[in-house]
């Protein structure tokens, strides 16, 4: 009975599928899975070339790190958010790149010398405290889940685009199941080669289609020039530049789209939202929106420096000099990449404005996928081919990030929670079973969470994960590396308070936004109307709750300083040696000395 009913629906969905797009996406999925298994097998036989490192050149390593860094948020979300909010969203790509610099300046060097590749490793080694390791593991899971939700939305959006008519949740379930299964079977362990190839796939997929679109419909500047600022009209006349001429290439904007001046000017629709809801006049909104901007910048810059899954692979080079050269290349590779998504956003606003009228998986988050298809009007199937290429890039983006996150979260759950806390005496077979069980559990939770967030922007959600990381891990790493007086209790107090308060604020605003959108969509009363009213009366609280970094980061740092001072006696006894290992050049060989002393002491 069920199949009889389902067949017409399935065949109906298949009829609307564009064969080019399906073909490219399918090839990407198969190649990614195949490469994962192939390199996982190879890396076993060549005794882990990943850690040995010498066979990995600077170029490959830099590509691999960049490939890991560029998630669905970078590939789809930035473009969608620039299209939706304009200038305000431009802070995201810039701060993702700047945050990497912050990581390089303060954290990467000491962590590499210390030999800690994950934050729980570092937490335990720096304070000689297995308890603190457990606390750090909890945050790996918190931040990890926040980071998987946007990847799931990317998956649901892409599948709903490839198979028109397929509901959003079905795409999330399908992709989630494939990747979870893959990780549980031991494929896709985030090997250097796979990540490196994926960087170039993403780079190709974001740059080539947009160059073709620009050559046909006009460049980045021309498309931006179609948006007028309040100061433009007179200037255009003076210079003789015809801004009018560009109006022709642009389609009419629907009502839901922000007006030109709020789109192209700073302090537009994203940062003024709370103040505008409170009914403030435009001039009164500006200080609020400045506050929002600063809090966003702090969250993104400090958050990058504290994101667990980037640090895992941070330095896989043989020596410090190669590591630094790799980092320089990473900065260049991700910087060049981030030039492109805003171009999609700017052109999408002019040529694909119908996306403004839709919500969820049909909204602006799919502009990267759909924009190249407008070429079909002029050049037959070539638009579909290019759209197939961007879909393939999107698959590469959310598949690599989701599987990387799944591996690290599963590792945390199976290794730390099961292997160390629940069953320290378990056998290797039991642990392997626990790994598979943990992978499936986390995969299921990630899919269930991903199904709830269709209405939230991909890039916005990633920004929220960054804010939590900024309030918890960043102060921990920064102070632990540079201040000898930090104690375990100080570190834990600051990290837990800052991180949990930021998490609470972000969860409250996201829940109230979801409830509001559900009530608008279904014409039912808002389940969280009380909270919504509260935000309207207190726009400042709303901003500080939505973007908590501006108070949560200083709060965490102050707590760490104060509590550490109070528990001064608990500073690890060999702190000078630890600080030396963190800061002395590797050629001096202090790390070996430290390990020997440490083993002798235990």
């Amino acid at each position: 009975m069920f199949f009889a009913a389902a067949t017409p629906i399935v065949s109906n969905i298949l009829k609307q599928v564009d064969p080019w797009i399906l073909c490219f996406s399918f090839i990407t999925v198969v190649v990614t899975i195949w490469m994962g298994f192939w390199s996982a097998r190879r890396s076993k036989t060549t005794s882990d070339f990943f850690v040995a490192g010498r066979s990995v050149s600077v170029g490959w390593n830099a590509s691999a790190i960049s490939g890991e860094y560029l998630s669905a948020a970078s590939f789809m979300g930035v473009a969608g958010m620039v299209m939706k909010n304009g200038y305000d969203a431009l802070w995201y790509p810039v701060c993702y790149a700047c945050g990497y610099l912050f990581l390089l300046l303060f954290i990467a060097g000491p962590l590499r010398r210390f030999g800690a590749y994950t934050i729980p490793d570092f937490a335990e080694g720096r304070y000689d405290s297995p308890v603190f390791r457990k606390i750090a593991v909890v945050f790996v899971l918190f931040i990890g889940f926040f980071y998987t939700m946007p990847q799931m939305k990317g998956a649901g959006t892409t599948l709903a685009y490839i198979f028109p008519g397929l509901p959003y949740w079905a795409g999330v379930v399908l992709v989630g199941a494939i990747i979870t299964f893959n990780v549980a079977l031991g494929g896709m362990k985030g090997i250097t080669l796979v990540q490196a190839v994926q960087y170039w796939a993403k780079m190709f997929a974001i740059s080539v289609p947009i160059f073709v679109v620009m050559s046909v419909y006009g460049g980045y500047q021309e498309q931006l020039a179609a948006n007028r600022t309040p100061y433009d009209s007179s200037a255009a006349v003076e210079t003789g530049h015809s801004v009018e001429g560009h109006e022709a290439l642009r389609k009419e904007l629907p009502l839901q789209a922000p007006k030109d001046e709020s789109w192209i000017s700073p302090f537009g629709s994203l940062t003024t939202k709370a103040a505008a809801k409170a009914g403030l006049k435009p001039q009164q909104q500006r200080p609020y929106s400045l506050l929002y901007t600063y809090s966003l910048i702090i969250a993104l810059v400090c958050g990058t420096a504290g994101l667990p899954h980037i640090l895992v692979r941070f330095y896989t080079n043989p020596d410090g000099v190669a590591a630094k050269r790799t980092t320089m290349w990473v900065m260049i590779l991700i910087g060049v990449f981030y030039l492109f998504p805003p171009v999609f956003g700017a052109i999408g606003r002019d040529l694909l404005p119908e996306l403004y009228a839709a919500t969820g998986a049909k909204g602006t988050d799919k502009v990267v996928l759909e924009l190249p298809r407008i070429l079909n009007d002029k050049y037959g199937p070539w638009g579909s081919v290019l759209s197939g290429i961007t879909c393939a890039g999107a698959f590469a983006a959310f598949m690599s990030t989701f599987s990387g996150l799944l591996v690290s979260m599963t590792g945390a759950l199976a290794h730390d929670v099961y292997g160390r806390m629940l069953r320290p005496r378990s056998t290797p077979e039991q642990r392997l079973k626990a790994f598979k069980f943990a992978a499936v559990t986390i995969g299921v939770v990630a899919v269930l969470l991903g199904m709830q967030v269709e209405q939230l922007d991909i890039n916005f959600m990633v920004g929220q994960a960054f804010a939590i990381a900024a309030a918890s891990y960043f102060p921990l790493l920064f102070l632990s590396a540079w201040w000898p007086g930090m104690t375990m209790k100080g570190a834990a107090a600051g990290m837990l308070t800052g991180g949990l308060l930021a998490l609470t604020g972000i969860t409250l605003t996201s829940l109230s936004d979801l409830a509001l959108q559900a009530s608008v969509k279904n014409h039912t009363p808002n389940a969280l109307q009380g909270l919504e009213n509260f935000w309207i009366h207190h726009p400042m609280v709303r901003i500080l709750s939505e973007q908590p970094a501006i108070w949560a980061v200083p709060l965490a740092i102050i707590l760490m300083l104060v509590v550490s001072k109070l528990t001064r006696r608990e500073v690890p006894s060999d702190i000078r040696m630890k600080m030396l290992v963190l800061h002395a050049p590797e050629q001096l060989g202090l790390k070996q000395e430290y390990i020997q002393e440490h083993h002798a002491a235990h």
């Binding site: 790509p93 610099l101 020039a225 302090f267 910087g335 540079w482 040696m577 050049p585």
Partner: protein, 95 residues
């Protein structure tokens, strides 16, 4: 031995030199990053001037910022490699 690796003085000197370099580089890009919203706030008309079709503010943030970050990173990496070499030299030279 004046440069005892395990002395408090050596550690202090080491961390100071490294932190000074990092803070210097961070200051360069923090000033730019935090200054741009202020420029947008106080001189909206200037920041809306058209540069190659972009507004000035869009051009600075969406295009120029990336090369700027590369320059800061390049300077930091070169100096920190030189700093490490000098540290190794000073210890090895003493022994």
């Amino acid at each position: 031995m004046s440069q005892d690796v395990h002395s408090e003085a050596f550690l202090h000197k080491l961390m100071r030199a490294q932190l000074r370099l990092s803070v210097g580089c961070a200051a360069a890009f923090t000033i730019a990053l935090l200054g741009l919203p202020l420029a947008n706030y106080f001189w909206p008309e200037l920041m809306a001037k058209r540069v190659f079709g972009f507004t000035l503010s869009w051009f600075v943030l969406g295009v120029l910022f990336f090369p700027f970050v590369w320059v800061v990173a390049y300077i930091f990496i070169r100096r920190s490699i030189a700093l490490e070499q000098a540290e190794v030299q000073s210890v090895k030279g003493e022994q």
